[in-house]
């Protein structure tokens, strides 16, 4: 339960490295293999491209990390991506709504979805698995009902720039958002009372309750944040795709969960860190990018992806038992 860093380590970089030894090892091994296999991997172009590709999954995985640390799960994230994105684009193109208003509304819808899931889970103690699955269906349904199942093309320059623009002509904007969000969430989780409460609830709910942690407030806030991040992911994705697509997002929840678990977040709650999730998302992104560059067929990729995820989790899980990696507890 004790998530506080041992006092010996003060340097945050060292602590990130120590805490994520297993996943970093996997990442490095993978990078070496792919680099040997193809000279296209370790190029500035490709690294930027990979970062952009993992950004959508990372936004979602940040929220998911908090939710899993609480001991819950959120299956509705992919559907919220589709719902918010489709609504935003639809409102701009079909309803001629002002861009800013439409974006705010699209995000708000995602926030509401998260808030409702969180409220029901927290107030009634219903398993989040079921409630968020219900929310997944509802959000998917809303996306399809609103759009009639059709994609909507958007060419508004400002809207497109959100996902395809660059900072200083080099760094893609989705990557910039990703870095900002990672910094915010790392700070919130490790340096604020809010973060401490999240760990406390996930670690031992009863104890947290007895020590006066506002459980409901924290839980609802975390689910709402997850909805917010998913809606934001939907916005950026639509902008990158030049269209609102009601059919996107299926399976995104699993990629986000995989990123968290690869990064060492415990499915039983109470344990996990943002830096781990970021490395997890990188591993998932590099698996498909690397295999694509090498030219492995999509079907073999599924098998390889499964094997790598299984090995990575095993390695991470076993690292505590290997004496040379053992840390001071």
């Amino acid at each position: 339960m004790n998530q506080k860093k041992s006092k010996v380590i003060d340097n945050p970089v060292v602590s990130i490295f120590r805490g994520n030894m297993g996943i970093i090892a996997v990442l490095v091994i993978m990078c070496i293999i792919v680099t040997v296999a193809t000279d296209k991997f370790l190029t500035a172009n490709n690294i930027i491209s990979v970062l952009r590709q993992i950004s959508i999954n990372t936004y979602i995985a940040l929220g998911m990390t908090l939710i899993i640390i609480l001991g819950h799960i959120d299956l509705s994230v992919g559907a919220i991506v589709a719902m918010s994105g489709t609504l935003t684009v639809g409102l701009i193109v079909n309803q001629n709504m002002h861009l800013g208003v439409a974006i705010v509304l699209g995000i708000l819808v995602g926030v509401m979805a998260g808030f409702i899931s969180g409220s029901i889970v927290s107030n009634f103690g219903v398993p989040a698995f079921i409630i968020t699955m219900a929310m997944m269906n509802i959000a998917n349904g809303i996306a399809y009902v609103y759009s009639g199942g059709q994609s909507t093309r958007i060419t508004d320059e400002f809207f497109i720039a959100i996902g395809t623009g660059y900072l200083f002509n080099v760094i893609p904007l989705p990557v910039v958002y990703m870095v900002v969000l990672i910094v915010i969430f790392s700070f919130v989780l490790s340096k604020t009372k809010f973060g401490t409460y999240v760990y406390a609830i996930g670690g031992n709910r009863e104890a947290a309750k007895l020590s006066g942690v506002p459980i409901k407030f924290i839980e609802i806030t975390v689910f709402t944040l997850s909805g917010l991040l998913s809606a934001f992911a939907g916005l950026v994705l639509c902008s990158r795709m030049y269209s609102g697509q009601p059919s996107v997002g299926s399976g995104y929840e699993l990629d986000a969960i995989a990123a968290c678990v690869l990064g060492g977040t415990s499915m039983t709650g109470g344990k996990g860190r943002i830096s781990g999730t970021v490395f997890g998302a990188m591993v998932i992104g590099i698996i498909s990018n690397g295999l694509n560059l090498i030219g492995v067929s999509s079907y073999w990729q599924l098998i390889v992806k499964g094997l790598i995820i299984a090995c990575a989790v095993l390695l991470d899980n076993q690292k505590g038992k290997l004496s040379f990696l053992r840390k001071k507890k």
């Binding site: 399809y144 994609s151 059919s247 694509n292």
Partner: protein, 349 residues
């Protein structure tokens, strides 16, 4: 206590919304006062129109059903609205059943259709080899089956289907291939985004390779991957393919969503114009992309023509002319050029 109250409020809210939903649909089904076997989607929206429809329904007394594989795609939904329009014009009652890609649901819907006494059924199978039992039930009920767009397996066509009508997918691929051979007379490095789990998409790729003609060996396929016929999946793939093959000159994609994904990737690599994007479909989005210069060429699928042709065949068949000249009809594809794209920008063909 507070908890109970919230539960109660939520339950009431849910119940009301369910009832409201039912109420609306009841209104729809109740509107045509004659004993039409099923209400059309539009029925009940305008009293005048539906009364007119109801009387003509009584006059022709026919009813058609369209069992699609999904409606979450402009391709299928444009077939649906064409059928609906044609049926209304001819005073035929019309129903569309959407299983949303679920084979099991489609089988139940086919059973329902067999038991509901329709006069003709149009079917797009969820899975070509998976609906034999459903087809048998409909055939046993004596209802003629018109298989549209995606063919069921040959055995099933021989045994159960009255007539199949679809786009000539092979030809569509061939046209695109020929165009590419023309655009790159010295050959090129190309990438193919395919979708092997769909029969028609496999035909398109084969047609495409055939279409490259005698120049085929000058073309090098540097990457061929499953783009899942979807925009987001194809976009990521295309980005990686572009990086892995800096010399790449063109993409061939089996449908518009996939090609739009490739086009987005080409754009974000700042290579619009340098890397050509060739597609098949010519959906409204695809036509826009062609006009915007994101697509180099696109061959047409013809859902509206499929709907018209099969509707005509069905009415002819029911009118007593039961001779079917050809059991499998493939309607011609064509390259959609800018003029046609401009003219029909908001529709299929």
């Amino acid at each position: 206590m507070k908890k109970k109250l919230i539960t109660l409020v939520l339950c009431v809210a849910m119940a009301t919304s369910v009832l409201v939903g039912c109420g609306a649909s009841k209104e729809e089904t109740a509107a045509p006062e004659t004993e039409a076997p099923a209400a059309t989607e539009e029925a009940g929206t305008e009293t005048a129109a539906s009364e007119e429809a109801a009387t003509t329904e009584a006059a022709s007394d026919l009813s058609f059903a369209f069992c699609t594989n999904t409606l979450n795609n402009t391709f299928q939904s444009s077939i649906d609205s064409k059928f609906s329009e044609l049926c209304e014009a001819n005073g035929i009652a019309y129903t569309c059943l959407d299983p949303d890609y679920d084979l099991n649901t489609q089988l139940s819907q086919l059973s329902d259709v067999a038991n509901s006494g329709y006069d003709a059924v149009f079917i797009i199978p969820v899975d070509s080899a998976g609906i034999t039992s459903g087809l048998a039930e409909i055939k046993d009920a004596g209802i003629p089956i018109f298989n549209v767009d995606t063919a069921v397996i040959d055995d099933d066509i021989d045994t159960f289907v009255t007539e199949f009508v679809g786009t000539n997918a092979y030809m569509a691929g061939q046209l695109v291939g020929e165009q590419m051979a023309k655009d790159y007379p010295d050959g090129a490095k190309i990438a193919v985004l395919d979708f092997p789990s769909n029969e028609s998409c496999v035909d398109r790729v084969n047609g495409f390779l055939e279409g490259l003609g005698e120049n085929a060996d000058k073309f090098e396929i540097v990457a061929q991957q499953d783009g899942q016929a979807a925009l987001d999946a194809s976009m990521g793939l295309a980005e990686d393919i572009i990086i892995a093959n800096p010399e790449l000159q063109a993409f061939f994609c089996i449908n518009d969503p996939s090609a739009l994904g490739a086009a987005a990737a080409v754009k974000s690599a700042n290579k619009t114009g340098e890397i050509g994007v060739y597609s098949i479909d010519a959906s409204p989005d695809g036509k826009q992309a062609l006009l915007d210069g994101e697509f180099t060429a696109v061959a047409a699928q013809v859902p509206l023509q499929i709907a018209e042709y099969s509707f005509d065949e069905a009415t002819r068949y029911l009118g007593g002319d039961t001779e079917i000249a050809e059991k499998k009809v493939y309607l011609d594809s064509h390259l959609v050029l800018e003029d046609e794209a401009k003219e029909t920008i908001s529709d299929w063909q």
